[in-house]
């Protein structure tokens, strides 16, 4: 199993002020650069940046191509991932995507991972007047044509459902041929299966458990073998999972440093959903109509919640990992032990290196290709994130890297036996 970092670039508003200090975003970006550059030196394989718009406090990564371009020149080997580019043409025209992806691939020496997505919340889609019922179709059309633009000389032009353009040669061409490895955001199982059918990697951003992942791996590789209609000129078979992450010398310190990071992450993500079904009255989440752009302090709303809703009990129950009764009967009484119990239960990478090793081994056993870490979330401190990256990178990553070569790659080769399409994958 390979490893990486994942960034929303969360920036909770301060609890004791109405908005951020003027240097807050600068610090956020500078700290991110330090974190990723450390990861690169330690041998982490990937970094992925989201693209979200208007989601204050939850995700300040609105222009991932900018961060990735900076990292292209300050890192040496880490793969530079879009997690993802939003493909509806009103948000990103396919020709501009092809130009940016190819340019990044050239200046990085061929290290781009091209993650694609259709967009989710109406907070974003509404900002660009994208109709929700058409976003899947837009994603497919935009991705397919973007790939053709990168791999064709010239691009023959297109008259489509959601965009049209005449014949042009879209330049530059990417260093990776015929194009960088393709991925799609797949926070749901259904999209993982779609990814397999299109011959692209699945970016599992739904914090799947090891057990869920094992099922998806089996289904995914079966579909790659049996029902694949590639959307690109080469396929990129692979499953990535996202995991919560914090490490320190002791389990207790790791939990303390993790603080309410995962809770704020989940809460602020749910906050921006406009589907009533994902709102939970008891969580205090607000519908988008009540959000006041530039004014509402989401962090303060989150901070007012009962502690159990901040640190995972609600998430465990709502993820159907445990019923309320099971939670009550099996959890340790002591707060610290309870937090570690919950982290272990869900397979989270939160704890001392030994605990993390044990938890994430379950994902390795499920044949996960890549795990990326959600380290920068909530109000976590930069120095704690740096120490966590260092601890994992020096004490855990090397043994997984060795097994990846010796055990995982042969397994993967067996899964792909007989697949008739060219493969372009960094796994």
């Amino acid at each position: 199993m390979k490893f990486g970092l994942f960034y929303e670039l969360q920036l909770p508003r301060p609890l004791d002020a109405e908005t951020w200090d003027p240097d807050a975003e600068t610090r956020l970006f500078e700290e991110m650069f330090e974190q990723v550059e450390l990861a690169d030196r330690l041998g982490y394989d990937y970094v992925f940046f989201v693209e979200h718009h208007f989601l204050e406090e939850y995700a300040h990564s609105t222009s991932p191509e900018i961060m990735l371009a900076g990292l292209a020149r300050t890192t040496k080997q880490i793969r530079l991932g879009h997690g993802v580019v939003q493909m509806p043409p009103a948000i990103n025209h396919p020709a501009r995507v092809a130009e940016r992806i190819s340019s990044l691939d050239v200046i990085s020496g061929g290290r781009v991972e091209f993650g694609t997505g259709e967009g989710t919340s109406m907070a974003e889609l509404g900002g660009f007047s994208v109709e929700r019922s058409l976003k899947k179709s837009m994603w497919e059309e935009g991705t397919r044509e973007c790939v053709r633009m990168m791999s064709s000389t010239p691009y023959a032009g297109y008259d489509g459902e959601h965009f049209s353009m005449p014949a042009r040669n879209v330049i530059p061409k990417p260093m990776q041929k015929p194009h960088p490895p393709l991925w799609v955001a797949a926070s749901r199982r259904e999209t993982t299966l779609l990814a397999a059918r299109f011959g692209i990697g699945s970016l599992g951003f739904g914090f799947e458990t090891p057990e869920e992942t094992a099922i998806r791996v089996e289904e995914y590789y079966r579909l790659i073998r049996e029902e694949c209609f590639p959307i690109g000129e080469a396929i990129n078979p692979g499953l990535l999972v996202l995991n919560q992450f914090m490490s320190a010398k002791t389990d207790e310190e790791a939990v303390r440093r993790s603080a309410n990071g995962p809770g704020f992450f989940s809460y602020s993500l749910g906050y921006y959903s406009t589907t009533r079904g994902t709102q939970r009255a008891e969580s205090g989440a607000r519908l988008i109509d009540e959000h006041q752009p530039g004014i509402t302090n989401i962090h303060r709303v989150f901070d007012s919640l009962p502690q159990e809703q901040k640190d995972g009990r609600t998430q465990l129950r709502e993820a159907k990992l445990m019923t309320e009764q099971q939670i009550a009967e099996s959890e340790p009484e002591e707060e610290m032990s309870r937090a570690l119990f919950r982290a272990a239960r869900s397979g989270s990478a939160i704890g001392a290196p030994d605990s993390i090793r044990k938890n994430i081994k379950r994902y390795e056993d499920a044949h996960t290709d890549i795990m990326v870490f959600n380290a920068q979330c909530g109000a976590r401190k930069h120095e704690h994130i740096m120490e966590a990256i260092e601890l994992f990178g020096t004490q855990v990553l090397p043994e997984f890297a060795e097994r990846h070569e010796k055990e995982h790659l042969p397994w993967r080769e067996r899964q792909l036996e007989g697949v008739p399409y060219p493969i372009n994958s960094s796994i």
Binding site: W139, E190, L193, L194, R276
Partner: protein, 109 residues
């Protein structure tokens, strides 16, 4: 083995096979029509599916029959799927196929 082969009902299974073949042939519209016909058959067998799959505020849209242009309605107590367009992408057809197949396979339990 394709998942539709595990579906018990032969009529539903045949329609899902047709949908899969249509997708392989690059005809997502026919695939969506076949999935809709299959889902209406499932509702005949399990009438509660109709209410379970109509839009409701408390449900995520992922938990309901997809509303991507072939949308499920209740008309005088009967299910009706209305096509708002006659052009679908392959990914939309896959979404309809997977949802219908998952629903059909749950009847196996």
């Amino acid at each position: 083995m394709a998942r539709y082969e595990d579906v018990k009902d032969s009529d539903v299974r045949t329609l899902l096979e047709q949908a899969t073949d249509s997708m392989r042939d690059g005809d997502p519209l026919t695939a969506v029509h076949a999935c809709c016909d299959a889902f209406l058959l499932l509702i005949e067998q399990q009438p509660n599916l109709l209410q379970d799959n109509l839009p409701a505020d408390e449900k995520s849209h992922h938990e309901q029959f997809p509303r991507l242009g072939a949308n499920l309605f209740e008309v005088n107590g009967e299910p009706e799927i209305r096509f708002e367009r006659e052009r679908f992408s392959l990914s939309e057809a896959i979404t309809y196929l997977d949802f219908t197949t998952d629903t059909a396979l749950r009847f196996r339990q």
